[in-house]
Symmetry: none
Subunit: 356 residues, 2 copies
DNA sequence: CTGAAAGCGCTAACAC
DNA sequence: GTGTTAGCGCTTTCAG
């Protein structure tokens, strides 16, 4: 199979064709070529066509994508995805999967920008014309990338939303409502003492949006419903879950329900509770906040508030593309939580009727 | 819960801190700062700390697009990942996760190139200097991207390997050996009639490497061991699994074992066999080829040949980086299959001792 | 209208 | 070990 050799291979020993090569070939100065490309000053039609000719003949690529210059678009979406302490990769990958699939429909690719250098990384990517726009994940309540996102010439969509979301486009699950929904469900069943196992502590220390809001929603609802509530952060490993579970029970022996907002911990919850002398759901009812598939892979099946990673990822891309096309989508798309009741929260006979 | 504000606010001052500023502040040469940053030559501990100090104080952030300029490197790896019919996204994402994590250690990002325009897409990406090199997935036995990859000025590593892998760098599980290992395990247990449920038919139609080779290994081993074997492709959905299961049993009522090479199907296998009147493992033993985690999420636990997605992804990045650094890694890294016996293949009493 | 030349911020070959 | 100095490919003055 012989490929049609373009002239580019003869120049520069088969390597990259530079603007200088084009200039030489067209008999003009490099700057002239640059001006033809950028259109930042008027060029005689004659020169212009000659340069264009040389560019084509030499197969010159303006060192980004040829599309960047002709269309101004790279067809690449930057997915800003800091991999910080406590990040649960499988959870994140659900978003990525959804985003990549959706992006595909617009003939776009995804650049996974996993550097955790925050605003600086963003600025760099924005300047380097690598991407047309950004999808930003792992948003904190007071995120230092937010002011920059507002200034940036490139559009962006946040998966999650900071405290001050003005001027941004965000998609998110209503995590406050989600946290509250868990409490309400359990309180309705008669539970008066509810524990909460959350994300790894590092996640709260950063005030990561989803974790922070869920906690808030949980606490507020507990107050409202007058139930005792205690929350603990848990790392992803088995030991941490076991320790947290036992600590919770030691502090509140009367605890009859548990809300879990930690996908990594889900698999161990039942076993750890048993190790602490509690049966699920006999002694302790459990509600998880996680994708439905996860809740259906445990035994017993867990009642859960659905984490619609796929929807969020899809909407985010849709919104970003809309912005790229000059449309002005709504600034905040907040999906309402949906609870699916499963085996882990049966009717709570002991306290039936005690509901305030 | 109040978040601890980090020092990074000084960056927001607006002015860009350059490497020269740092050098001046630390009383060294710009290059020294550069070397401290890159670690490309030894620096006295004293100087190093002084420079680090200045970097922190000034809030210096390396400007990466310029790094690209002077090094010719973008620090982006193109992950060529066609999303074709039959592609099981969760499986693919395991590789992506591993690759992204590993790339991170080299301070590189991943560009998910999901366009399925094969060689053309590759060439475009290669010329436009968007990426430093390629990781190529979903490799077919006779892949039309292979000749191009050989010519390309950018290095590449294939996850999977084509029939003619000369001149390429490939990482792969030894899928032939994997297929064979399943048969051997079952034959050793005395099974004389083994079914095979494979990937979606589209995957075989393309002669996708991993599916093709597994089938080959399976069939060859069955011949060698003198056991009856029948293979069927299955799509990912429940109906297809049910249909295939029933078809298999109708054709070979004496079938006592099943090899499953289809992650999407795994969850339904036991239920479908039961629906067809067969208990696992009482009537039919099952061996899966899948990641260990998956095999341990079913009931009963499945004996499996481990699909080391994480290792493969990690090695692929390691190899690519090695090539980027001018090293010449071995052309083919073929991981040996490892079988973990679990509940789905107990001793096969009925045929004990019948083994040839 | 066009060319020469000075950088952009950073790296790496070359000195000492 | 460290400083000097030339570029990387392109943009953008400043002179024609």
């Amino acid at each position: 199979m012989v490929s049609t050799r373009s002239v580019s291979e003869s120049v520069n020993g088969g390597c990259v064709v530079t603007i200088a090569d084009v200039a030489r070939h067209a008999g003009v100065a490099p700057s002239t070529v640059s001006y033809v490309l950028t259109g930042k000053r008027s060029i005689s039609a004659d020169t212009k066509t000659r340069v264009r000719e040389s560019i084509r003949e030499l197969g010159y690529q303006p060192h980004a994508s040829d599309r960047v210059l002709s269309t101004g678009r790279t067809n690449v979406i930057g997915l800003v995805l800091p991999l910080r302490a406590g990040t649960h990769l499988p959870a994140v990958m659900r978003f990525v999967t959804a985003a990549v699939t959706t992006a595909r429909r617009y003939d776009m690719d995804l650049l996974l920008m996993t550097a955790d250098d925050g605003a600086a990384g963003l600025r760099r990517a924005a300047n380097s014309a690598q991407v047309d726009g950004f999808l930003v994940m792992d948003v904190e309540m007071d995120d230092d990338r937010v002011p920059l996102l507002r200034q940036l010439s490139k559009p962006s969509v946040l998966i999650g939303h900071p405290a001050a979301a003005r001027g941004l486009t965000c998609v998110d699950l209503d995590f406050e409502a989600a946290g509250a929904k868990c409490v309400d469900h359990l309180a309705d069943l008669g539970h008066r003492s509810i524990g909460f196992l959350g994300a790894p502590s590092a996640v709260y220390r950063r005030s990561t949006g989803f974790a922070h809001r869920t906690m808030n929603g949980f606490s507020a609802a507990a107050m409202r419903r007058g139930v005792a509530a205690t929350a603990l952060a848990v790392e992803g490993d088995h030991d941490s879950v076991l320790r947290a579970t036992k600590a919770l029970i030691r502090a509140h022996p009367s605890m009859t329900a548990l809300v879990v907002h930690n996908e990594a911990a889900l698999g161990w919850i039942t076993a750890c509770l048993r190790a602490a002398g509690r049966q699920v759901p006999g002694d302790v009812a459990v509600v998880a906040i996680c994708p439905d598939e996860l809740a259906e892979q445990t035994s017993p099946l867990l009642t859960s508030v659905r984490l619609p990673a796929e929807e969020l990822g899809r909407h985010a891309v849709d919104l970003l593309v809309a912005k790229l096309e000059g449309k002005q989508p709504p600034p905040l798309m907040l999906l309402p939580p949906r609870l699916s009741r499963r085996a882990s929260t049966p009717d709570h006979a002991a306290h039936r009727g005690a509901t305030g």
